[in-house]
């Protein structure tokens, strides 16, 4: 008996031991044969999921060293520039992680990079689901869970960023407090209860900490589990293609090829995050200094939050100096860009599957995906929305742009106030007409003609050429349907 065979026997014995106690073989057998479609765009959600795993692992490591306390200490660690400075215990322990815990800086930076890429992957994954209409019946529940996951992830990113109690994050917390304060009727109470009193105070770090390391991650993990379970139950969507219908699914079996690929992707995502964490500096809090509201004169231009809250910061910057004052009450300015805008944003995202149904009257279950061009209006709306938030995001850097291009910040801000309305309208019409053109001409935007290719036989008839056969230079390409406007291929070509 060879060693390899004995290894196999042990695995078998172990599996049987479990099967006799749990009856696992029936489920396992079905699971191993589960079919996953092979399309790159289905990997984006997996990247997000793997980022979350890395966030948990690196985050647990960081909790061994981070102390969520706002008591003041004098720094005596090994970073010379701040030795002797008064700062909070939280900020001092962040410096210790960065300079005095071996491998601590890599872990901290991996954690931050994982958060940034997690949010990016979530945005791209949502775009994939939106533009291919994967949210339609029967997948509305997973769309709603997905939007909730996005909101929770964004909030948790903000809480985590605020914990370090550096000058920049403290300014961010101050902005968050002011937005809470601006909410009509209940704002004062909301802000005082959530932040533990008038800002600045010493309560928020311990509160944000337990939200950041327990409450929100537990919610995210639970909803992520539900997201996957529902996906498993409903099976994946798939793009249209030869042989694919609403009632079948084409792809590879979970075992072994899909599992190996997916685990490989996990290793690659982690590897990239590790390389970023070691080689690309992110959030160097030691350069910002500690947050002390009484000494916050050090806040200068070029204060930008993490990228995923950039759209909110941009909205705060370009919203004009308006507010509502009536009957002795005030609806303060930050409410509109800071609370109403995200409220509308996430509200529309939540109801989108039902909103679209009102117009399309399409309540049928769908397992075949649209291509973006198949629904020009939806794609146009999606492009307009993306461009709106992109403009807001860029507007969040109006001070940087002003100094780079040597123009007054006022001119830049006024420009963005115009662009934020003009660009989405342009994006809508350009995208809609591009989709219509693509759908009419059946040309793939990134690679020549699509459709099945036919070959003229010696006998004068036509036969379909196998799709896996690479096209030869000069090969005749035609669409599957008869196209009256296209002349037949010239004889002999």
């Amino acid at each position: 008996m060879t060693r390899g065979a004995r290894g196999g026997t042990m695995t078998k014995a172990l599996f049987r031991w479990f099967d006799e106690r749990l009856g696992a073989s029936h489920f396992t057998r079905k699971a191993l044969d589960k079919i996953f479609p092979d399309h790159w765009s289905f990997m984006i959600g997996e990247i997000a999921m793997y980022c979350f795993v890395i966030l948990v692992v690196t985050g647990v490591y960081l909790t061994f060293f981070f102390i969520p306390a706002s008591e003041e200490v004098v720094y005596e660690g090994s970073y010379e520039a701040l030795q002797g400075t008064h700062m909070s215990v939280a900020y001092a322990s962040s410096l210790d992680i960065s300079f005095d815990v071996r491998a601590g800086l890599v872990m901290r930076q991996m954690h931050h990079w994982a958060a940034l890429i997690f949010m990016a992957a979530l945005v791209v994954h949502m775009c994939r689901v939106f533009f291919t209409a994967a949210f339609r019946r029967p997948r509305e529940i997973n769309w709603v869970i997905g939007v909730t996951l996005f909101i929770l992830a964004m909030m948790n990113g903000f809480f985590g960023y605020s914990l370090l109690d550096d000058l920049l994050s403290g300014t961010g917390v101050r902005v968050g407090y002011s937005i809470a304060l601006s909410i009509p009727v209940a704002g004062e109470w909301l802000a005082f209860l959530f932040f533990g009193g008038e800002f600045p105070n010493t309560e928020f770090i311990t509160r944000f900490y337990i939200l950041h390391v327990l409450v929100l991650p537990a919610l995210i993990a639970g909803l992520l589990g539900a997201h996957l379970a529902i996906l498993w139950r409903q099976k994946h969507t798939q793009f249209k293609g030869p042989g694919r219908t609403e009632d079948n699914i084409e792809g590879s079996h979970l075992w072994p090829s899909y599992a190996a690929k997916s685990i490989g992707l996990f290793f690659i995502v982690t590897g990239v995050l590790a390389a970023l964490g070691g080689l690309v500096q992110i959030n160097p809090v030691w350069l910002y200094g500690p947050y002390d509201p009484a000494q916050a004169s050090a806040v200068t231009a070029g204060s930008q939050p993490d990228w995923y809250v950039g759209w909110l910061d941009g909205a705060l910057r370009i919203f004009p100096g308006w507010e509502i004052r009536a009957f002795g009450y005030t609806v303060a300015n930050p409410f509109f860009p800071g609370a109403l805008l995200p409220g509308i944003t996430f509200g529309v995202l939540y109801v989108w599957p039902w909103l679209e149904r009102r117009f399309t009257k399409d309540d049928a279950p769908h397992n075949l995906l649209d291509r973006p061009r198949d629904a020009p209006v939806r794609s146009g709306f999606g492009a307009a929305t993306l461009s709106f938030y992109t403009i807001l995001f860029v507007a969040g850097g109006n001070d940087v742009l002003a100094s780079v291009f040597k123009v007054a910040p006022e001119s830049i801000t006024n420009l963005f106030r115009i662009l934020v309305f003009v660009v989405p309208v342009v994006a809508f019409f350009v995208t809609r007409s591009a989709c219509r053109t693509l759908a009419r001409d059946k040309v793939h935007p990134f690679g020549g003609a699509v459709g099945s290719r036919v070959r003229r036989t010696a006998a004068g008839g036509y036969e379909e050429v196998d799709d896996d056969d690479p096209p030869k230079v000069g090969a005749v390409v035609s669409t599957p349907e008869a196209d009256p406007y296209r002349p037949p291929p010239a004889p002999g070509s």
């Binding site: 079919i35 092979d38 071996r102 491998a103 890599v106 930076q109 300014t171 902005v175 002011s178 601006s182 009509p184 004062e188 005082f192 959530f194 533990g196 009193g197 008038e198 800002f199 409903q234 099976k235 009632d247 079948n248 699914i249 590879s252 079996h253 090829s257 190996a260 690929k261 685990i263 490989g264 992707l265 690659i268 982690t270 590897g271 590790a274 390389a275 970023l276 964490g277 070691g278 080689l279 009484a294 000494q295 916050a296 004169s297 050090a298 806040v299 204060s303 910057r317 100096g321 009450y329 005030t330 609806v331 303060a332 300015n333 930050p334 800071g338 001070d399 910040p409 006022e410 801000t413």
Partner: protein
Amino acid sequence: MPAERRIAVLLVLSTLAALGLAAVYVAGGQPQLEGALLGIALTGIGVALILWARGLSTEGAVIAERGPLGGVEEDEEAVEERIEEVTEEPGRRSVLKLFWAAGGALALSAVFPIRSLGPAPERALVTTAWRAGARLVDVDGRPVRTDTLQVGGTTTAFPEHAEHAGDSQIVVIRVEEGAIRPRPGREDWSPRGYIAYSKICPHVGCPVGLYQADSHELLCPCHQSTFDVLDGARPRFGPATRSLPQLPLEIDREGFLVAKGDFDEPVGPGFWNRER
């Protein structure tokens, strides 16, 4: 290179990187090396796995029926029947209502402890630590005197003995005497060109820290609101909707700058009850 060879090279590379990582850690650690080696070790395994996966299965794409997703009339009816069993008798239905009432009351009473999370706002947002006669001191506790600033100069100040009162920080600016266009009732608030405003931006509370002496403008670094120092810090541009509250100043007999009283309006960002 055949796939097996490529996989082998990647895995050997990954092994070496992992061993190197351990060595770097034992030797004292070095962030860049740690990240690079961990990256190589992980990515090597990842790419090798994907190459390996390509050769694992020769079956290509497989296709299967989805099978139905719910909609079996018999099951649905059976479930509905079982649920309705509970409420069939009128007596049971009223007990069920009481369960709902008890549960609702419990949920309602569980809301009240939220009140413990923070103090009542009361007057906290409309008052600061400034009192009549309070000396202006800088962050190190040194008092601000009539000769502290040159014309065009600026400093951050706090009420004496309250140097950490975040809501009381002010920006003190010295401008040319007579340049200020005081608002009615504020004619004697800025002795010898010394004028003081709350440093908390009325937009979202950033410190209004940048002063441009030639244009007499205060600029908020966060969202670029600008305020005209000579005209009661009226907002000129940006999202701020209100002037910076002005602190009334006077000079005491020893030549120190002191406050004549607290601000006459709330400092910082706006809120629902601000006018009350």
